[in-house]
Amino acid sequence: MNYIKNKKNTLISILCIFLLIFIWVIYTNVYKQLPMFRDKTITIGVFSDSYWEVQNGYSYRILEDAIAIFEKEHPKIQVEYVSGILKKDYSEWLVEQLLSDNAPDIFFILAEDFNDIAEIGALKDLTPLIAEDNTFQKNRFYSSAYQCGQYHGIQYSLPYECAPKLMFVNQTILNNEELSISNEDWTWQEFYNICQKATKDTNGDGVIDQFGTVGYTWEEAFDSNGIKLFNQEGTKCYLTDDNIEPALIFIEQLEKLNEGYNISSNDFDLGNVVFQPMLFSEYRAYKPYPLSIKKYSSFEWDCIPMPAGPSGENISTLNTLLIAMNANTRNTEYAWDFMKVLTCNTQIQSEIFEYSEGVSVLKEVTESDKTLQSLMGSSENNLNLQILSDAVENAVIAPRFRNYDEAIAEVNRAVHSIIEENTNISMGQIIWNRTINKKLNYK
């Protein structure tokens, strides 16, 4: 009797163990390692239009070239991508693919989606791959661009192309007003002085029609005054920082110059504004494009670094397009190789200057003569590549945490409210800091 019972128990246990193994196999996707599920294809997630919102007609050109290089190195591996996904649909498409476990092995990832996707653990931690790969040298990248691929200190992605924010200057107005900028290390004071002098009524109708700056917001002021707004985890806001008050006062003063006129970037296009901060990609997009030449034909213009605040440097933010690997990829090795082709191959990276509007994330490529030639191509303006390179290298890296955009929106409200209410600035800082901290910790 006992024997039969023992036998029955053993049978049930064995059945149970088999069932658990089956569940484990399903859960961990181990079954996909089976020969019948394995394939020699790596898939890429990519959008068809430019990251920089410009139609340039070269949508998949760089990717195709990269595939050609990769397939030459790995003849047995095929690279596939789904074409025709627009950038505006790309985030949704990517998340859907991730949720249904169909995501490509490698995918481009938009800066605004990176935090959310990294947070849920859908991206592969690249640290071990980087550590094992001798051919990969991270110091070839701009450190800022490289850091953009990190989330909570872990390298989840590599930068593909980037664009720093630069100050566009209308040289025509400066020349007309006999103003000049001393050098690249210019300061807020100089910036304010020029704006003050340039803001005037030129045709004498009693209405101001020439302005100092458009689009220079508290964000640029904070970045260039050495202000760190949040901690890395996004649990604390430092709105009471000592450097914030001068920045707020500076913004307030700049706004006062316009005497209540609401200026838009269209005013800059018309040649009525001296300064406008712009992404380098916008500069490039406007430059070779036939329409944009017409757009800026009425004035001479140039781009220089941002003015430095009393406690900061001539720096600004960096916009980066990242490439990440699917955490569940079955072809880690080949996917990594392809990622390297896209990000570390000088030929591919230099194509960015030809077929895209961003800046290569490799120092050697951005600083090369070939790049200078391709950038200078049709333009008479002198572009100092060193300015560009420094702007990328020294760019401010925003902390990476979830709901970063909401936190920034909150700070935006705070800044506007503090400036508009005309009350005690430091009191406003303390009150708003508390409010924002509460919201940050609620999440």
Binding site: N9, L15, L19, I23, Y27, V95
Partner: protein
């Protein structure tokens, strides 16, 4: 018995209910997850989650698969303490996994595990069982979504359900909560049933105990009775022994004393008339007295056949016969065709005494020169035959000796025959009791 049956029915109901709940939640999650994807609102969903959700189609498979394995484990009967502990641990681990798969929105399976575990407790001697219960209860209390969020990145059921409109969401959540409460109710019913079983079991044991006490008392009475019987039996055997002694005294002394008394009375009459004759008479009396003395000695000896106490019947007989041969110069032939080790003490005594008495009679009364003793077995009777070549006796007067022999044999359901025409023949039959000694010579 009936209650045990209903408790196990309740357990079955609980198992089915848990399956329904898990299936319900898994379906909800799968449905809303695929809904998000189909309706292109995955980005909204992404903003609310903390980890990659399990792929929609896997959730029902995983949860039901895990539940089935848990049920299989519940089916295993295990009574050893450590086996039980291990089983419970694995069951709890699986319950935790199921909970994990469905976003820690349901933990009632732990109650099911607890219900299944306490079923073993009445029979188990294990000391730590209450710690196990406390452990399971702690787990039940601690598996809470908000608490676990500190350690696990999980997406709660509510986030999935945000796919639905608020009124539908309320209904769906309401159904889930209702099922959860139902599960708890059933658990409580189960525990009450178990307690009831336990109580009636105790009552049963109590009544059995009472019965045992009564029987014990009866047994004590019987014991006292038995002691009384034993005393009576002892008295009876004493009486018997006294009787026997009386018989022996009569045998040995009665005759001699009678002769002496008669002789002395005659002497008293004769003394003055014929002193010579009186002298002769006194000599004869002395002879009788001497004979009596000898008889007494013999009787005393016969009372204590220590030969029998020291050795078995066969050897004792041979020794006794040898002694007789030496004392009397008579030729005694002894032949035994069977083994004599299948008799109890009384039977052995009887056989010994019959042979001894017969030899004594032959020598004393028959003046025999040759005595033949044959012992044989016929079916279940031991036949002892003593014949002599003495003077015999035509008219046998049964004296105390023969009577005594007959008496002893009667007590053993045996029989005695004797003939005096040609010498004297004594034939005794002693039944051999079956199963005693276990010897079989046939």
């Amino acid at each position: 018995m009936e209650e045990t049956q209903s408790a196990s029915y309740v357990l079955v109901i609980m198992k089915n209910l848990n399956l329904v709940i898990i299936l319900y939640i898994a379906t909800l999650i799968t449905y809303s997850l695929s809904g998000y994807i189909q309706e292109s609102s995955a980005l909204d969903f992404l903003e609310n989650i903390y980890s990659m959700p399990i792929v929609a189609w896997k959730i029902p498979i995983l949860s039901i698969g895990l539940y089935c394995s848990c049920m299989l484990l519940l089916y295993i009967q295990n009574k050893s303490s450590w086996g039980l502990f291990l089983k419970v641990c694995v069951e709890l681990a699986i319950s935790f996994c199921i909970s994990y798969v469905i976003g820690f929105s349901y933990i009632g399976i732990v109650l099911l595990v607890l219900a299944d575990t306490v079923r073993y407790f009445p029979k188990s001697e294990w000391k730590w069982k209450f710690f196990l219960v406390i452990f399971i209860c702690m787990l039940y209390l601690l598996i809470d979504y908000n608490l676990l969020l500190l350690y696990f990145k999980i997406t709660p059921l509510e986030t999935y359900l945000e796919y639905f409109q608020s009124d539908v969401r309320s209904i769906l959540l309401g159904i889930k909560n209702m099922l959860n409460s139902l599960n708890m109710l059933i658990f409580i019913v189960y525990i009450i049933l178990l307690m009831h079983i336990q109580l009636s079991e105790k009552e049963r044991i109590l009544s059995l105990n009472e019965e045992l006490n009564t029987l014990n008392e009866e047994l004590r009475q019987a014991n006292i009775q038995l002691e009384k019987y034993a005393k009576e039996a002892e008295q009876a055997s004493k009486n018997k022994e006294r009787n026997r002694l009386a018989m022996e005294i009569h045998d040995a002394l009665g005759h001699a004393l009678t002769g002496i008394i008669t002789g002395i009375e005659a002497c008293a009459t004769l003394m003055d008339i014929a002193p010579e004759a009186t002298k002769e008479q006194l000599k004869a009396i002395a002879e009788v007295a001497r004979q009596g003395m000898t008889d007494v000695r013999r009787s005393i000896k016969a009372l204590r056949p220590d030969a029998l106490e020291k050795m078995d019947l066969d050897k004792a007989l041979i020794q006794m016969i040898d002694e007789m041969r030496c004392a009397t110069n008579a030729e005694i032939l002894y032949q035994c065709k069977t083994e004599l080790n299948c008799f109890n003490e009384e039977e052995e005594n009887t056989i010994y005494r019959i042979i001894q008495e017969a030899i004594t009679n032959s020598i004393r009364h028959g003046k025999a020169k040759q005595i033949q003793i044959d012992i044989d077995r016929k079916y279940n009777m031991l036949e002892v035959c003593i014949r002599d070549n003495g003077i015999g006796c035509i008219n046998i007067q049964e004296g105390f000796g023969l009577y005594h022999m007959e008496e002893r044999l009667k007590r053993l359901q045996g029989s005695l025959k004797y003939y005096g025409e040609k010498g004297f023949v004594v034939e005794a039959q002693v039944p051999i009791r079956l199963g005693y000694g276990g010897n079989n010579n046939d």
